[in-house]
Amino acid sequence: MSNTLSYSSITKKIWMSLFGLFLMTFLVVHLSINLLLLFDPSRELFNIAAHFMGTNPLIQIFQWVLFAGFGFHIILGVILQIQNWMARPKGYKVKGTSEDSVFSKYMIYTGMIIFVFLIIHLGNFFVLKMQGDVPEFHQPGAGEMEDMGLLVVNLFRNTGYVIFYVIMLLLMGFHLDHAFQSAFQSLGLTHNKYTPFIKGLGHFYSIVITAGYIIIPLIIYFR
């Protein structure tokens, strides 16, 4: 039965969880760098961090691991969802009223919206950087580097973009809220003592991450 390894529903769910947890750790690293913009309005700290992330050889390799993580998580999510739709070709007249997690019902939709946001986000920063269209950062003693912080600050002064960004991040928060405890369930990591803690930690994580990302454009906009 070893050939079922690649195809079974549980295998797909286990990989989905592992990639999801990996992406959650990335969100923490990304947020910690973004927060430097609040602690240092001169943007020097943020630019140093962005320069390090953009030039360190290890990070450059890891960047492709991250892209692969996103790719596999998205592809698996789409495959699982298509199978789920196929499993019930004819739906019910009366919508289900069983008690269940609200956010869990919309994971594919919040996931698709996050994917669109990811494309726009990469276009706003990553592509510009790859094309060398980012202005230089001039600060005495800081060395030569790109002013990535200026790109961020300029975008976060645009009312439309800030509203769009906040809505996108809220939807990502909904996605994360279900995802955290769901990953542990899919990996079979449940326990009478620890599962309530994991569920609590999942809510805490999703709220802190979402609030952390949202507060940055709001402060920059109103600063």
Binding site: M1, S2, T4, L5, Y7, S8, S9, I10, T11, K12, K13, I14, L80, Q83, N84, M86, A87, R88, P89, K90, G91, Y92, K93, V94, K95, G96, T97, S98, E99, D100, S101, S104, K105, M107, H178, Q181, S182, Q185, S186, L187, G188, L189, T190, T195
Partner: protein, 246 residues
């Protein structure tokens, strides 16, 4: 009490079904839901119409035969019961009650509200058993079993295979059923011998039959008449992972 029923009628597996409205009057609030259906059917027979086909057997909540998706919930608006244990006092006088069959690709409609649940039998045949060689009867107390595990195995074994979990799941996933059947053996030493093959074969069969994937919404646990816990699904995931890497 008087009720307006909207019932799914379908002549056969390949027929085009539709909802048909019926009025039932003077139903006692102490009647069970299936008794109400019996009254409706008697009226239909008296009028020369075909009665509504629905599954039922023991009417004591233990056989797993009754089904019915009532007003958006398998086994109707109550918790930890089967449809045969549902009483009409759970409904309001004059209420409209929509009755549908379980909806899932592996559960095709046979007629009206009856669905073919033999997909569950196929999953059991794939590994939901302990192979026993004939010979002397072993002493019941020869193998010590932790009380905690015995209780968990017994809880899992309470699954009656009604299919409410599949019916409630937005993905028509059978994970709660399969995990209960895997767990009841995985927790006991007698079941450990074939544990790896069992979980692999039962999950493979579940996938082949076309059940959906688990999204951890836990709607299955909420509607299960035997309150099978979703911790069984986590146990099955663990069992499956260990079986695959070993």
């Amino acid at each position: 009490m008087d009720l307006k029923l909207k019932i799914w009628r379908q002549q056969g597996p390949d027929a085009q079904g539709k909802f048909v409205e019926y009025l039932v009057q003077n139903i006692s609030s102490d009647a069970s839901f299936l008794e109400m259906m019996d009254i409706l059917n008697e009226e239909l027979v008296a009028k020369g119409e075909e009665p509504v086909a629905f599954d039922h057997d023991c009417r004591e909540g233990i056989c797993g035969m009754c089904s019915l998706y009532i007003n958006g919930r398998p086994h109707g608006p109550d918790t930890a019961i089967t449809t045969c244990q549902l009483h009409m006092r759970k409904f309001k006088d004059g209420e409209t009650v929509v009755i549908e069959p379980w909806r899932a690709k592996p559960f095709p409609v046979i007629k009206d509200l009856m669905v073919d649940r033999s997909a569950f039998d196929e999953i059991i045949q794939a590994g939901g058993y302990v192979s026993v060689n004939t010979g002397g009867v072993p002493d019941a107390n020869a193998i010590p079993i932790k009380k905690e595990n015995a209780d968990l195995a017994m809880d899992a074994a309470a699954c009656i295979g009604c299919g409410a979990c599949v019916a409630a799941c937005k993905n028509a996933s059978a994970m709660l059923f399969v995990s209960a059947k895997v767990s009841q053996f995985a927790l006991l030493p007698q079941g450990r011998v074939e544990a790896n093959n069992r979980v692999e074969n039962m999950v493979a069969k579940m996938d082949v039959l076309g059940f959906g994937n688990c999204t951890n919404t836990y709607a299955c646990e909420a509607v299960c008449p035997k309150e099978i816990s979703i911790t069984n699904i986590a146990r099955m995931n663990r069992e499956f992972f260990v079986a695959k890497i070993s």
